[in-house]
């Protein structure tokens, strides 16, 4: 049980908690927070799990990947927040209201003449 395992497990826990929140929480901002946290969870795993154990050697490749990942996460979060605000301005609610997989046809399309 080295510190690396601790962080790797923390990464797994954060990832799964966040995934659970994204799937179950309905509020858009929590979903965006969740996606961001999933990213950090993977970064934790990426830096902790593959590292060489006995002399703790910092592996620059995952560090490069994590840095790129953080910047990409910022970009994705900015757009997700922007779009969430757009949804709130268009539909007035911070939830994804329109049911996507309505087995019945497009709710807005007018009734066909019987």
């Amino acid at each position: 049980m080295t510190p690396l395992d601790l962080y790797a497990w923390a990464g797994v826990a954060v990832f799964l908690l966040a995934l659970h929140a994204v799937v179950t929480r309905a509020h858009l901002i929590w979903k965006v927070l969740g996606i961001n946290l999933m990213g950090t969870g993977v970064f934790l795993i990426l830096l902790a799990a593959p590292a060489r154990r006995d002399p703790l050697v910092a592996d620059p490749l995952p560090q490069g990947m994590v840095l790129t990942g953080i910047v990409v996460a910022v970009a994705a979060t900015a757009l997700a927040l922007g779009m969430a605000l757009r949804v709130m301005s268009r539909t007035g609610s911070p939830f994804l209201t329109v049911d996507p997989e309505s087995a019945d046809p497009d709710p807005d399309a007018p009734e066909p003449p019987s």
Binding site: A13, V23, R52, T68, L85, R86, P94
Partner: protein, 294 residues
């Protein structure tokens, strides 16, 4: 610009349309809070939870297994080839030499996010504290005078340091962005909106610089972004500088251009849902057919 009162009183949040006098937080709840009423049945939440927990345990054990014998060969390879990259910081070596293409795409992601946010809403002409209050806020003025110059100085230093010590363009860019937002909020700097051409040039400068350098070296070294002998360090430094400025401008853009609620062109909310996706009227004076078409 409309103040806090919003023209649409009848939307789903039932926001009280009276001005913000005696504010009761009743109507605040829908946006700023989430009591989980819309979260779907609890049984579903538990099922998803039950599904994820064993997966987590298996994953953790999997990561733990064979952990001791892990002996990645990449660190030694990087240490061995680092001198050829022209920088001594291995992470900067990875980011700007070994995997320069990744960093190029990463800045392209930032540009994509910026353009996407621009496409969401009309550019804000006004951002920041009300004009009157910005001037007479003593604390803000003091912070500005102290923070902004140091931020700029540190950013330059971080960019320069990146080649040898753990620092680099992105960290510098973030600092610059922080300073930029402070200036804009304090109304010292006009918010850089989508229309301004200099904004576009600097923002696109990061990616453009990378691609131009990459193509320029192609005939000499036979590969995209393979720095010729001796040129690695100066080119990397140049690219880092361009990256820092570009990242800073893009991040400030992402702050300023966040869509406001209600959208200024909210009149379109009443657009016919099954009509033209762009809300264009079909009126006879509709956009004339393309002059080019036969």
């Amino acid at each position: 610009m409309s103040g806090p009162t919003d023209p649409q009183a009848n939307n789903a949040t039932g926001a009280a349309s009276e001005t913000g006098t005696g504010v009761d937080h009743a109507h605040v709840r829908p946006l700023l809070e989430d009591d989980g009423s819309r979260d779907g049945p609890a049984i579903l939440t538990w099922m998803v939870g039950l599904l994820l927990v064993p997966a987590g345990v298996l994953l953790a054990l999997g990561l733990r297994g064979a952990a001791d014998s892990r002996d990645p060969r990449i660190p030694d390879l990087i240490a061995e080839h680092l001198p050829e990259t022209g920088v001594s910081n291995p992470v900067t070596g990875v980011l700007l030499n070994f995997r320069g293409y990744d960093t190029l795409l990463e800045v392209a992601v930032l540009v994509a996010a910026m353009v996407a946010v621009w496409s969401l809403d009309r550019g804000q002409r006004v951002f920041g504290l009300p004009a009157g209050r910005a001037r007479d806020e003593p604390v803000l003025a003091a912070v500005l005078r102290l923070a902004v110059p140091t931020a700029f100085l540190t950013a330059v230093y971080l960019t320069w340091l990146g080649s040898s010590e753990p620092a680099g363009a992105f960290q510098a860019g973030a600092l610059l962005a922080g300073a930029g937002v402070l200036l804009t909020v304090a109304r010292v700097m006009r918010p850089p909106t989508a229309a301004a051409l200099p904004v576009r040039i600097i923002a696109a400068g990061g990616v453009a610089g990378f691609v131009v350098v990459g193509i320029a070296v192609l005939p000499f070294t036979g590969a995209f972004l393979a720095y010729p002998e001796g040129w690695a360090y100066p080119l990397i430094l140049g690219l880092e500088a361009a990256l820092a400025v570009a990242v800073a401008v893009i991040l400030v853009e992402l702050f300023v251009d966040v869509p406001s609620i209600p959208a200024p062109d909210s009149t379109l909310d009443t657009v016919d849902p099954t009509g033209d996706p762009l809300g264009r009227a079909l009126a006879p004076d509709a956009t004339p057919p393309d002059p080019g078409a036969p």
